[in-house]
Amino acid sequence: MRVRQLRAVLEALLFSSGEPLSAERLAEITRVDVEQVRRVLMEYAEELADDARGILLVEVAGGYALRTKPSLAEYVGRLELPRVAPLSNAALETLAIIAYKQPVTRAEIEEIRGVRCDAALATLLARRLVREAGRKDAPGRPFLYVTTRQFLEYFGLRDLADLPPPEEFEAAAARDQVGTGEERE
């Protein structure tokens, strides 16, 4: 195999493999001797050092792997890759209120939940399940919150209409609010 092709093959292998690959394994797959694999990998690592490249070759767990450059973590972080961790109950309750009463301010959410929800709201914003949508024309001009496309994806909903019709909820919520106001102890 020519060096240029070997380099291409190694890149493809490192790219597609979920786990680090040892030089021996790479040599076995490419049917090239280990020394040559190491040589080409070293050249490859040098190329990746160029600041127009976004990934680098690391040696981990007895093998080689491609990773994004730490200096670019800020941007990669903005991708906000979905996490496996489920939402906390506080976040879930806050989300339910936003989903059915949107657009809604933080004070209004806290009024319903009876507790502060800064942390829950921060989580929901970070996970892009809700977003700010302008400000309410009220004292202090508080932010209004609405759900996002990601919210629908997270719950596997096609659109907000997949939830019970919002008018019904608004009406119900309005009635509830009247009730709450009168009967709260």
């Binding site: 890759l81 489920p86 596997g156 909820f169």
Partner: protein, 253 residues
Amino acid sequence: MSENSAYTVSLPVFEGPLDLLLHLIDEQELDIYDIPIAQITEQYLAYVRTLRELDLEMAGEFLVMAATLMEIKARMLLPSPSAEDGAGEEAEDADPREELVRRLVEYRRFKALAQRLHDLERQHMLTYPRVPQADGEQVSDWVPVEGVSLLQLVCAFRKVLESIEDEHVAEVIREKVTVTQRMRQIEYLLDRGEGCLTFVRLFRGDRTRLEVVITFLALLELIRLGRVRCEQKRAFGEIRIFRARGGDSHGEG
């Protein structure tokens, strides 16, 4: 399966009666718009008989098509009756094969498209994506409900909502029920007795829309955490909620 099934090796498998008919037509290079119906019927029936003799499973549709073919064949033999009806000249010339031809042409079109998709699939499988790393980048592939689609759940949910009567809403003193509390209640109900709840039963105590919503969100969350699962025996049947087997510690992260 009978011993005869050893012979099945040579028997081509067809996706359905239309697939078999197309095969017969293509194989003999027949004109799809002028199918020699007697000949095709004979061959078709021979194939169906073979399947039966070999004791192979055969979709009921094969028999339906056999009947259709025989009917067309019979109508082709009859003199055109429409002359007596006087029911328009156009209708007189209606070919008994027309509907079958239309279906065959349409099916053939989609078979060709399926082949194109197959080519695309094969081509695309030559390229590999990057497999996300195990360290926290894993994209969760959450399938919301096992056996019941979320849409079915939501539809059921809507029905419950519609059944909530407005007069109740007015008089209700809103209790502060949270999703967490409701999740616990549902789990308690499941653990206490039946081990199974109907979807409708789940909402029995709810009197306001907000309560219904909270119950529904609690259910969604329990499903998502893998603590309960839903089942629907037949389409539009009752949705039942079960404790998921060993799913308790499932959802923490």
